[in-house]
Amino acid sequence: MTSTHTDYRLSQLDQLEAESIHIFREVAAEFEKPVLMFSGGKDSIVMLRLAEKAFYPAKIPFSILQVDTGLDFPEVMETRDRWVERLGINLVVASIDDAIKNGIIPDAAKISRNRLQIPTLLNAIEENGFTAAFGGGRRDEEKARAKERVYSHRDEFGQWDPKMQRPELWSLYNGRLHEGEHMRIFPISNWTELDVWDYIGREEIEIPSIYFAHQRRVFERDGMLMTETPLNPCREGEVAEERSVRFRTCGDITLTGCVESTASTIEEIIAEVSVARVTERGATRGDDKFSEAAMEDRKKEGYF
C-alpha cells in the first residue's frame, strides 16, 4: 500500500491488491476447504504474496496444491520450496507419474503432459475434498479467460460451462455449491502481465531465476526457442546453441519456450514487457497454439 494521500486516492496497483485480498478473505470465510493451485510461476507466487497479506499475522488458512508434471524447471521447484518453508504452509503434490502408476489416468505417451494435468488435478481436488481452488489466471491472457468469472463454477466432472456462468455483480460473489462440485477462484483476474511485474518489483517478491536473462542452450521449434534437455532433445534439422534468454511463463519444460533477452532486473523486464509486441502465451506456449479455441476447450475440461 502507498502512503495515504490527502485526497484519499489509491493507486491502481493498490486497488487491484485490495480487490484480490477481498477475494481471498471471502473464500476463506465461505468455503470449507479451499486450496491454492501453485505452479511456481510468477502469477501463482503473486497469489501467495496476496494471501500472505490477506491473513497476516495469521498463517495462510489453506494448503497449496501443485501438479507435478515431472517436467518442471528445477529452478521453479527450488523457489517453491523456499516459499513453502517461509510461510509454513502445507504443500500437496499431485504427481502425474503417480497418477499413471495408480491407474487414475492412462499412460498415453502421445498425450501431452499438459493434457494429463487435467485429470491429475481433478483427481487431487476430489480426493482431498477441496471445495475451492485458487488459480492465477488473468483475463488479459486469452480471449476465453476474458469472460470467466472470479468465482468460476465447476460441475461434478470439473467442467466449466461458459454459457451457464453465474452473473457476477459488484463485489458480491456467490459460492453456493452442490455435493461434488467445486469453485475455481481467480483473485488476480483483473491484473495484467505488466501489473504482475510492477507488483513483483514493488514488493520485491522472489520469483524463479528463469524469468531473468541467463545463458541457456536453446533451439528453434515452431517459431519458439526451446530448452535443450534430455526430456526434449533436438529433432533432425534443429540446432541448439547458447543464447541469452529468459522465460515469460513457467510451464512444462518441453512446451515452454523462452525469448531472447538481456533483462536481468525487474526494471529491465518491465521495460521489455512494456514494449513487447506479442502476448506472453502467444510467444512462448506451445500448448495454446493448436487452435483459436485451444484455451476454451481445455478450460471446459477443467484446466486451470
Binding site: 500500500m1 502507498t2 502512503s3 495515504t4 485526497d7 484519499y8 489509491l10 493507486s11 496497483l13 486497488q15 487491484l16 485490495a18 480487490e19 485480498i21 477481498h22 478473505r25 476463506a28 470465510a29 500472505e52 497479506k53 490477506a54 491473513f55 497476516y56 499475522p57 495469521a58 498463517k59 486469452e142 480471449k143 476465453a144 479467460r145 476474458a146 469472460k147 461458459p162 454459457k163 453465474r166 452473473p167 457476477e168 455483480l169 459488484w170 463485489s171 458480491l172 456467490n174 453456493r176 452442490h178 483476474s189 483483473n190 495484467t192 501489473d195 510492477d198 518489483g201 514493488r202 520485491e204 525487474i266 526494471e267 518491465i270 502476448t279 502467444g282 483459436e292 479455441a293 476454451e296
Partner: protein, 426 residues
C-alpha cells in the same frame, strides 16, 4: 504504511472501470478494438489472428470486433453474448472495460457489467439517431448509478461529418437524460472505423471543440465519486493467529465500503449496537492512520466485543439502521419468473440470509421508463420494484448513497444460481 520512496519502480497510475453497451451494428467492438489498437494494447499475434480470420471470412477490412468476441459460440454467431473484460493503459491511467452485449435479451449482462463501472459508454449510429436500445442503455446505466455517462455518436463519416446531425442527437439525448440520474454527460462525435475523435482529434469535424474519447477517459475525475463521509466497514473475516507471537491478536478483516476510519475513532458494531474505539488499523505488517474505500484492511478494537463475519463497523453517530424490510429495484436474471411469496437466499455485503418476496409493486419498462403496476411477476431481464422481508437484519444504505452497502444479490436455494440483483431504495 510505507512511504513511496522505499518502494521500487511503482508508477503512480489510477484506475477507471468503464462499461460499454451496444451491438456490433453500432460499431461497439470496432470502437473497443480501436481503443486497444490506438493505445498499442493489441499484440502482434492477436492482430495477426484477427487479420487471418478477417481474410478467411472475406472481409475487406480488418474486423477489430474479432478481438473482443472470445467464446467460440460468439464468433460463430457474430455477436457478443457475455460480459468480457478488456484491459489497456495509458501512462497515467489503467482502464478495465466491461464489454457488454446490447440486445434486450442480454440486459442482465449489461447490468452485471455496469455494476462495477465508474463510467458508462453508450453508442449510437449517427444515421439512425437515438433508438430504443440506446435509451435502454442509458436507463440501465443510470439505474446502476454509474456516475459518468458518455454518448458516442458513431459513424459520423457516413453522415458527412454533419454538425447538424450531432446537434440533433445531442439535444434529444440531453432532453431524455433529464429524466435520469446522470450527474455527468459528455457527447462525442466519432468514427470508430476511421479513428476520428477516438484517440486522435478528427480533422473532419472542426466544429467540434470537446475532448476526444480517449482524452475524456483519461481525465474524467472519479476519485470524488466515492462516499467519504459515511464510514462503513462490513466485517469479512476474523483474524486470530494461532501462534505465541500474536496470541492476543484479534483483528477484523474487510474492505472499507464507505467513509474514512481513523485510529481512535469511536465506533459501533452492528447489529449488536456495542461500542468501542479503533485501537489499530493494519495493512499487512504495518499500522496505518486512516483507511478509506476501497482499501482492504484489518481493524482492531480496544474492547473485547463480540464481532463476527456479517457484522458492520460504523461510526456511533452515523450508522445504518438494521432492517428486515427491504424496498429495492430488482433485475431478474433467470427464466422462471420472480413471484410474490417466493423465498430466496440473499447476500448483502458479507451477510447472508433468506428473503421472502412480499410484493412486486411495478415493472419498469426500461425503454420508456413507464411503470407497469398491473404485473405481478418479473421475467428474465425485467426490472421492477420489489418488497422483501429478510430473516436477518441487513445493515444497508440506499444504493444512491453507497453502491456497496446498497446492493445485494438473490440466489436460488435449490440450484445455487444467482437469479437477481437488487438496488435498495431510500
Amino acid at each position: 504504511m510505507g512511504s513511496t520512496d522505499e518502494k521500487k519502480a511503482e508508477r503512480q497510475m489510477d484506475l477507471l472501470r468503464f462499461a460499454t453497451a451496444g451491438s456490433v451494428d453500432d460499431g461497439k467492438s470496432t470502437l473497443i478494438g480501436r481503443l486497444l489498437f490506438d493505445s498499442k494494447s493489441i499484440f502482434a499475434d492477436q492482430l495477426e489472428a484477427v487479420e487471418r480470420t478477417s481474410e478467411q471470412k472475406g472481409h475487406s477490412y480488418v474486423d477489430l470486433s474479432l478481438l473482443t468476441d472470445g467464446l467460440r459460440s460468439e464468433r460463430e454467431q457474430g455477436i457478443t453474448i457475455d460480459v468480457a473484460y478488456r484491459y489497456f493503459a495509458t501512462p497515467n491511467r489503467k482502464f478495465i472495460i466491461a464489454d457488454t452485449p446490447g440486445h434486450v435479451q442480454y440486459t442482465r449482462n449489461m447490468v452485471t457489467g455496469a455494476s462495477t463501472a465508474d463510467l458508462g459508454l453508450v453508442l449510437v449510429d449517427a444515421r439512425h439517431g437515438l433508438t430504443e436500445q440506446s435509451r435502454r442503455h442509458a436507463v440501465l446505466l443510470s439505474l446502476l448509478r454509474v456516475p459518468h455517462l458518455v454518448l458516442c455518436i458513431n459513424k459520423m463519416d457516413l453522415v458527412d461529418w454533419s454538425q447538424e446531425v450531432y446537434d440533433k442527437i445531442q439535444a434529444e439525448f440531453t432532453q431524455f437524460a433529464t429524466k435520469l440520474n446522470v450527474p455527468d454527460l459528455e457527447v462525442i462525435p466519432i468514427s470508430a472505423l476511421a479513428g476520428d475523435n477516438v484517440v486522435d482529434r478528427s480533422q473532419n469535424m472542426p466544429w467540434y471543440s470537446g475532448p476526444t474519447l480517449m482524452h475524456h477517459l483519461e481525465h474524467v475525475h472519479v476519485a470524488s465519486d466515492r462516499d467519504l463521509v459515511d464510514a462503513r466497514f462490513p466485517v469479512q473475516y476474523v483474524i486470530r493467529p494461532q501462534n505465541d507471537a500474536y496470541h492476543d491478536y484479534r483483528g477484523y478483516a474487510g474492505q472499507i465500503a464507505g467513509g474514512v476510519f481513523k485510529k481512535g475513532d469511536e465506533v459501533i458494531v452492528l447489529p449488536s449496537g456495542m461500542t468501542s474505539k479503533i485501537s489499530s488499523i493494519d495493512v499487512f505488517d504495518k499500522e496505518i492512520d486512516e483507511a478509506f474505500p476501497p482499501m482492504s484492511v484489518t481493524i482492531r478494537l480496544e474492547d473485547d466485543v463480540d464481532v463476527s463475519r456479517g457484522d458492520m463497523i460504523a461510526r456511533v453517530k452515523n450508522a445504518p439502521t438494521p432492517t428486515q424490510d427491504i424496498d429495492a429495484m430488482v433485475c431478474w436474471m433467470t427464466n422462471a419468473p420472480l413471484q410474490p411469496r417466493q423465498k430466496l437466499a440473499i447476500k448483502h455485503t458479507t451477510r447472508t440470509g433468506r428473503a421472502l418476496v412480499k410484493d412486486i409493486q411495478y415493472r419498469l419498462d426500461v425503454n420508456t421508463l413507464h411503470r407497469d403496476n398491473d404485473t405481478k411477476e418479473l421475467g428474465l431481464n425485467e426490472i421492477g420494484r420489489v418488497q422483501l422481508r429478510t430473516t436477518v437484519p441487513l445493515l444497508a444504505d440506499p444504493y444512491s448513497k453507497n453502491r456497496t452497502t446498497g446492493s445485494f444479490i438473490l440466489i436460488d436455494e435449490a440450484t445455487g444460481v444467482t437469479v437477481g440483483a437488487g438496488m435498495i431504495n431510500g
